[in-house]
Amino acid sequence: MDAGRFDPTTDTPAQAARRRFAAHRPAVHGVGALAVLTVLGFVEPLLAGPFATDPIVRALDAGHTTLALALVGGTLAAIVGAGWGVLAVTIGGRAERRLTALAQGLAALPLALLPVLAGGLLGRGVDLLILAVAAAAAPAAALATRTTLRARARREYAMAARAAGLTPAMVLWRHTIPNLAGPLLAAVWPVLPRALAVESFAGVVGLGAPAPVDTWGTLIGGALTAPFGAGLLAPALLLAAALAALNAVGDGVAASFPEERP
């Protein structure tokens, strides 16, 4: 059977989504690349003794911290953004338009500057960095959530529930959101690579995670001031690989929950 096709006689929607994801080769490779980056971070302590100052070992060591910061900041942004989008659709009407316009206005700004501004003016700290990264990524997540909810709320099951007398809020909480867990995951997934890029940019310009915490961004920033850019290539390549992998996984998640009816 075609790997991407839904068969209602044998597949649950979750099984079909898993099969679509498995059929998306770049996404599977992305999961593999992220797994390798994570495992290499565990191997690094074995090398740290004799090669502690080696740029590759330092970049591997910084991997866990970088990915953890991006994961925490991105997850916070996804929660805030999804809540923002759900709230807008739940309220509806003029309030929804205003909340959406606010998210659109903020998302249009160069929010990658926010962690830099926060680090420079309020002092460098991991908690502040995470909050600033989340604030930079949340408006886009809110827009994606709202678009997904609006596009899928017009489905027949939602109309049937409305016809049965449920209020819009009840339809949203009882029917739409349970059916939209996958599409919402696909909608908010891009906050993870966005959070990684924003956190890394703050590190590159010297206003990211405070010393002695090393991230790929801070290592790249340090290498830019070293003679011949020594030590730049390893963190730059690892950052590029992680961004590519996260984006590929996001494409796979989106392909797992196609817009059309299965």
Binding site: P110, A112, G120, A197, V205, L207, A240
Partner: protein
């Protein structure tokens, strides 16, 4: 079309007014200084955006038209590269490779990310347009394939690319900030970074507001261009 453009520009005026008020309140005279050096950043971002679109759109359209042929391979590769190399990373790599360089080199480095994004969007949009009902209708009426491509499919594919230009400009701004600092260019980005590193609230907020205003205007221009290319956008 003119009224559509006026509406779009009017839509960003409240945001611009808010940013201007914030800059004046926090920075006072620093707001004027940030505005005075903004053209340097605008030149970098605008130049990189233009170069990126000029390079990425044809490659993306070729990838959409010939998805499995050698003509489409460069566009497919560029589109795949895009997410891995944000503008600031390209700037860092180019700076480290050459230990400095000219403004032209910086613009070229900044153009990599928008070129990749434009190629990705153009490829997907042309593929969707070629499968669209209006292309099928035109072919059904006997319009030659080449003319359908030029008159219908390509304009429809270009519309989402130019609409995304504002978002690309936003992403480019981070690269421009780093690039100005590394290459020693006296723009709003360098001013922002210098002020942020020094903890100077006024100049930092003023420069950030100037950069934000620039991106908002580029956003509006992108939406206007989209409306020019796609009548459905004007009707929305």
């Amino acid at each position: 079309m003119l009224s559509f453009a006026a509406r779009r520009l009017a839509g960003v005026l409240p945001g611009l007014a808010l940013l201007a008020a914030l800059a004046v309140l926090v920075a006072g005279d620093g707001a004027a200084r940030a505005l005075a050096v903004l053209p340097v950043t605008l030149g970098l971002v605008g130049g990189a955006l233009l170069l990126g679109l000029l390079a990425g759109v044809p490659l993306g359209l070729a990838a959409g038209r010939f998805p499995h042929g050698p003509l489409g391979a460069p566009g497919t590769a560029l589109a795949a590269l895009g997410p891995a190399v944000p503008a600031f990373l390209a700037v860092a790599l180019v700076f480290a490779a050459g230990r400095g360089g000219s403004g032209g080199l910086l613009v070229a480095a900044l153009a990599v990310a928008p070129a990749a994004e434009a190629a990705r969007i153009a490829r997907g949009a042309l593929t969707a347009a070629l499968d669209g009902g209006f292309v099928l209708a035109a072919r059904g009426r006997g319009v030659p394939a080449g003319r359908v491509l030029r008159r219908h499919a390509v304009p429809a594919a270009l519309a989402p690319v130019v609409a995304a230009a504002g978002g690309m400009a936003g992403a480019l701004t981070a690269g421009a900030v780093l690039g100005e600092a590394l290459f020693g260019l006296p723009g709003a980005g360098a001013l922002f970074l210098e002020a942020a590193r020094a903890g100077a609230v006024g100049p930092a907020v003023a420069a950030a507001a100037a950069l934000g205003g620039m991106v908002l205007v580029l956003h509006a221009l992108g939406r206007i261009l989209r409306g020019w290319l796609d009548p459905r956008e004007r009707a929305a």
